[in-house]
């Protein structure tokens, strides 16, 4: 067999020709997973590999590039999805298939469909939420609108004093939270233990989970736990969409307040926590206001106690006044009744006195110095004495008429 070799350049030209014939000016939408990203942010281009896997086996792998004129699509994607453009992302990409004699086959990425990714994220998120509810019925319940977790049902103590904070070291979130609490206008004093951890990037959810376990193991009686994040990438919230972390938060026996700086969405961690606020500062403000409410209630109660106490004293005073007047009145009544009785007795005595009787024309008859009350005891010729009011007469009975 006779070989007619051609030069590599010729071969490359031939390949180029063949590829161009099929693909030139015909961008194609392709679904692929990102891998091996080399992003030159200062030079505005990015090399990456696009792969497809069947389970863990790679079934296709093509080199790709995002050139300077399409470089803005990375930023657009991150803003739309709130996800960091990174490896292991399943994307729908618009690509041009190109071939260069020097650099070989490359897919030139022209666009990334954010809605495809958002849809996937939403599906994934729904799947995680569904699994959380289905596999942990004693910890998480869903009524079609709200998630009810053990953590959510814990009541926030009326006074929050001891706080555990999970956050990234030297982050804005850490600074904002601590600053707000330490400079509170009411001079509340907080005892704050910091559980510092990586809060974004690979392994973040495991690190946060580990810190939750450390808090549980510390056996410290924290009033609340704050998971706060601020100042980092606005696109990497994946740690807070993690099943294991979400479950740990849902089941945690101390109220967890999240402030993870997610401006648009509510993460799964937020849904499972006792209370989800937007920023670390808002978490701190919430804690301070919680204590303010208690202080105000306390003052209000104190004030009411004093008010009602004065009222009781006033009541006692008027009761005493009544008693005093009752005492005076009753005593007066008794004395005047007694006086009246005495008057009556006196009058009766007066009326019954012999002088009074004699004055009315009666006379007293005596015989042998005894008052005669029965005429039958008197006989004719008896000597008797008759006493008038002014006169005393001795007499002899001359006749008895019977």
């Amino acid at each position: 067999m006779q070989f007619q070799p051609i030069s590599l350049t010729q071969l490359a030209a031939s390949i180029s020709h063949t590829i161009d014939a099929t693909f030139i000016d015909k961008p194609i939408w392709v679904i692929a997973e990102t891998s091996d990203i080399k992003n030159y942010t200062d030079r505005y281009y990015c090399f990456l590999s696009l792969i497809e896997k069947n389970e863990s086996k790679i079934t296709a792998k093509l080199e790709a590039v995002i050139w300077r004129n399409s470089y803005h699509i990375i930023n657009k994607f991150e803003q739309n999805t709130q996800i960091k453009f990174d490896k292991n992302l399943k994307l729908l990409l618009l690509v041009n298939v190109t071939f260069s004699s020097q650099y070989g086959l490359k897919l030139s990425v022209l666009d990334i469909d954010s809605s495809y990714t958002l849809g996937n994220i939403e599906l994934e998120r729904k799947a995680i939420l569904h699994r959380l509810v289905k596999e942990n019925p004693k910890i998480i319940a869903f009524d079609g609108q709200y998630y009810f977790t053990i953590n959510k049902q814990l009541s926030i103590p009326k006074i929050i004093r001891k706080i555990a904070i999970i956050t990234a070291p030297n982050s804005d979130g850490q600074r904002d939270f601590l600053h707000e609490l330490k400079n509170n206008p009411n001079s509340f004093v907080f005892e704050i233990d910091e559980y510092l951890t990586q809060i974004q990037g690979n392994g973040a959810s495991e690190s946060i989970l580990k810190q939750l376990q450390n808090i549980a193991a510390s056996k410290s009686n924290y009033d609340v736990i704050a998971i706060v994040r601020g100042g980092g990438s606005q696109t990497d919230f994946t740690a807070f969409e993690n099943y294991n972390l979400a479950l740990a938060i849902a089941a945690f026996p101390i109220p967890i307040i999240t402030g993870i700086g997610h401006e648009r969405n509510i993460s799964i961690a937020d849904l499972m926590s006792n209370n989800a606020l937007k920023t670390p500062t808002k978490v701190a403000t919430y804690i301070i206001e919680n204590n303010c409410d208690f202080e105000e209630d306390l003052m209000q109660n104190y004030s009411s106690i004093l008010h009602y106490s004065f009222q009781i004293i006033d009541n006692c005073k008027s009761e005493l006044e009544n008693i005093k007047s009752d005492l005076t009145q009753s005593t007066k009544n008794i004395i005047s009744t007694q006086k009246q009785n005495l008057e009556n007795v006196n009058l009766t005595l007066k009326l019954l006195s012999p002088e009074n009787v004699l004055a009315r024309g009666y006379a007293i008859v005596s015989k042998n110095k005894s008052i005669v009350t029965n005429g039958e005891t008197l006989n004719e010729n008896d000597s008797i004495n008759i006493k008038f009011l002014n006169e005393n007469i001795d007499a002899i009975i001359t006749k008895k008429n019977g």
């Binding site: 106490s309 004065f310 006692c316 005493l320 008693i323 005093k324 009752d326 009753s330 008794i334 009744t337």
Partner: protein, 67 residues
Amino acid sequence: MAKKITYQQANDELNNIVEELQNNMVTIDIISQKLERAKALVEICYQTLKGTEEKLSESIKHLESLK
């Protein structure tokens, strides 16, 4: 004995005396005795009220200083 008596006890006793007087259960012989007792009880009550009122006023001042 007078010092140990509470406001409520003093008040109850006063009310009893009033009731006895109103129902003619007190003879003239002991009426002045009862009145003396009542006077002492009223005194105790007023003293207690005064003391409580002073303490409350202090508390009000304290509350104002907190606000």
